[in-house]
């Protein structure tokens, strides 16, 4: 009781304090010493920092970099801001700049315009954009060879399918997702050209229910492996697969995750899991790489860095035994050939006429 009263009294005081404080507000952010204390930050796109995908992966990379270098979360160390709508990208980037971070990541292609605009306005700060290219001397663009990781996933999928029908669920029809799509189809064909790949773009990255209905339709028509590259929409694909597996433990139902290791997403119970593997886009690796270069004063401004299998930018996640050793060997073999350039994986799907 006492406590509650205290709380109420406190909040009254606090509310008054807000007004007073506001009257006397001034810009008390002090200019940090850029050379001594390297600091970095990121702004998420709509997915948010716990999207189990590239936003989360980027944040993990930043956190790891921070810990390795003895930095703290907050001003002068490392931090993030989340965007709830596209109009907030610009403001959030500017906010981070005003907090004097030395390197600011914009995560996701959606932020390209905002990064370009803010970078032009603040030529003294370094920016980096993930999944898009921005042409500015103080911006490092980070791209991935999604098609290479997806190719390996295609090989894995082709090896476990029994119905010879495989599904691909994409988010919005944009170049990044097209690369996943193209690589995956190519990988499947490399194993068995007769396998049919059912391709479906849901048009959204945030509609799990749409993913679920799409997966339901695919599984019903005999598809037994689905690779999703659809962000949170893909969560619905996992849900559908898990429900089927729970009903019939012998069902041959698999999902291939995207961006991060989505093994946990596929957990049906202690023994069963529908996740075959995940095509990991190692945003964390790329982020740490760019951050390291920047700290050393070698920020690759104006450059476009493309991360693929050869530099650990793309990888397949541990399959926890779902993929046989024999197939693993095949995958490793393909991976080597891609890394050394023997196999060139296309970025775009040949449109059938």
């Amino acid at each position: 009781m006492k406590k509650r009263k205290f709380g109420l009294a406190l909040s009254v005081v606090l509310a008054a304090g807000t007004l007073l404080g506001a009257c006397g507000s001034k810009d008390d952010t002090t200019k940090g010493d850029k050379e001594d204390n390297f600091s970095l930050a990121m702004v998420t796109d709509l997915g948010g920092v716990d999207d189990k995908s590239f936003n989360q992966s980027a944040w993990e990379g930043i956190q790891k970099f921070g810990k390795d270098n003895g930095m703290k979360k907050g001003d002068g160390g490392y931090d993030y801001l989340q965007s709830a709508s596209s109009s907030e990208y610009n403001t959030n980037l500017t906010n981070m700049n005003r907090r004097n971070f030395d390197l600011i990541f914009g995560v996701g292609y959606l932020m390209a315009d905002a990064v370009k605009e803010v970078a032009d306005q603040k030529p003294d700060t370094n920016f980096s954009i993930i999944d898009a290219t921005v042409d500015a001397p103080n911006v490092a663009s980070i791209l991935f060879k999604e098609q290479e990781g997806a190719f390996l996933a295609g090989v894995a999928a082709a090896s476990v399918t029994k119905s010879n029908k495989i599904g691909f669920v994409g988010g919005i029809d944009i170049p990044v997702i097209n690369r996943f799509h193209a690589g995956f189809v190519e990988g499947v064909k490399a194993v068995n050209p007769d396998i049919k790949v059912d391709v479906q773009y849901t048009g959204a990255f945030d509609k799990a229910e749409l993913g679920k209905t799409t997966a339901n339709r695919m599984f019903t028509t005999g598809v037994d492996v689905i690779f999703h590259a659809a962000g949170a929409t893909g969560n619905g694909v996992f849900t559908e697969a898990k429900e089927r597996k729970a009903k019939d433990p012998n069902a041959n139902v698999w999902v291939i995750g995207v961006d991060a290791d989505q093994y946990k997403e596929g957990q049906v119970n202690d023994k069963t899991n529908v996740t075959l593997t995940s095509v990991m886009k190692r945003v964390d690796v790329a982020v740490q790489d760019v951050a390291k270069q920047a700290k050393e004063g070698k920020f690759p401004g104006g450059e476009t860095l493309v991360y693929g299998l050869s530099d650990n930018g793309m990888a397949l996640a541990d399959s926890h035994g779902a993929i046989s050793d024999e197939t693993m060997k095949k995958i490793d073999d393909f991976a080597k050939q891609i890394a050394d350039g023997t196999i060139k994986v296309p970025e775009k799907v040949e449109k059938k006429k």
Binding site: G7, S25, L81, S87, E88, R98, L110, I172, F205
Partner: protein, 347 residues
């Protein structure tokens, strides 16, 4: 208690109550409300950058609010502001980059295109309502989805399956170096002037013109209006068209001011739906809408600064929603005030 005093007290008390409850939420979740609210205040009025940003945020809210309010005042429920806004955005962005004209022609042309696109998108439900008595709520909701996906398809075809249109030419931009320098690139633009003019225009149409008289009459009672010789059908269509034009202009603010282009949208912008709340907060009166938009926009933009002091966006959203909730439920406070003053009288 005098009426005037109540009218001033109610919104003030509402905001304070909302902030208080918000403070409790922050305390309970282990955050410092003082720090939070200082961040909110500074996020709104802290310096030229935040003031600029706040004004930029308010601008489309004013127009979206006017769109909803105008329809309301004429007896129509325009849920389609969102879709009309998207079409206006698309039209302005297209005209902005596809033509090369002197600014004096280009900018007005782009703005006009947005208004027309919004108006056209609202004309369809207006026509269906007037001629076939199809309820405008259903049609406008569906038109929202059509707008979203049509716009996405158009953007993709324009940009050769890319995800955004090219940037508009300088000559169609509402931005200016002056404002950018003044407000430290807050993206504030001259659209606020357009929005304020529209507030006056809506007031003028409704309160001064004979057309406004008819629109209101038809909104309240179609039978009596027909009896009095008004053309009910054309008035319904016109009401939707004007409402849609306001919404289209809100889209122009995004195209010619804030963004400079249009990107493939995964979902709705939400501005059109927030416009419903803005209109209701403003009691559907033009100047009320302005106040509602200021409150809505300021909170929305200022709250972006709260995560900078470590308060998670989720908590911020709850606090902002609480403040708006308390303002919207001003009725409760009005009743409380009346009770209080009654008690005093009794003593």
């Amino acid at each position: 208690m005098s009426n005037k005093l109540t009218n001033i007290l109610v919104p003030v008390i509402s905001v304070i109550l909302g902030l208080l409850v918000g403070a409790i939420v922050m305390l309970v979740s282990g955050y410092d409300p003082v720090q939070g609210y200082i961040a909110l205040w500074e996020g709104i009025f802290g310096d030229m950058f935040t003031i600029g940003g706040t004004i930029r945020q308010i601008t489309p809210y004013i127009l979206a609010g006017l769109a909803v309010a105008f329809a309301f005042r004429t007896g129509l429920f325009n849920i389609g502001v969102e879709g009309q806004l998207i079409m206006g955005w698309l039209a302005a962005a297209y005209v902005g980059y596809a033509f090369e004209l002197p600014a004096i022609i280009h900018l007005p042309l782009a703005i006009l295109a947005a208004a027309l696109a919004g108006a056209l998108w609202a004309f369809i439900p207006g026509l269906l309502k007037a001629k076939l008595q199809v309820h405008e709520v259903i049609v406008t909701i569906m038109m929202n989805y059509i707008a979203l996906h049509v716009a996405n398809a158009v953007i993709q075809s324009i940009s050769d399956s890319g995800e955004k249109t090219p940037m508009i030419h300088e000559s169609a931009s509402l931005r200016s170096t002056f404002l950018d320098t003044l407000t430290d690139y807050s993206r504030m633009h001259y659209g606020i002037v357009i929005a304020l003019i529209m507030v006056v225009i809506m007031w003028f149409i409704l309160e001064k013109t004979k057309r406004g008289f008819e629109l209101k009459a038809v909104g309240f009672n179609q039978n009596a209006s027909e009896y009095a010789g008004m053309n009910v059908k054309s008035n319904i269509i016109l009401a939707m068209v004007i409402s849609g034009a306001f919404a289209g202009l809100a889209g122009a603010m995004e195209a010619l001011g804030t963004f400079g282009n249009i990107t493939v949208q995964a979902g709705f912008t939400g501005i059109g739906f927030d416009g419903i709340a803005v209109a209701l907060l403003g009691a559907n009166a033009p100047f009320g809408v302005l106040l509602g938009a200021i409150l809505f926009g300021a909170l929305k933009f200022g709250s972006l600064n709260m995560p900078n002091v470590g308060i998670p966006v989720e908590i911020v959203s709850i606090i902002i929603a609480l403040v708006i909730f308390f303002v919207a439920s001003g009725y409760i406070i009005r009743v409380l005030l009346e009770r209080l003053s009654k008690k005093k009288e009794a003593k």
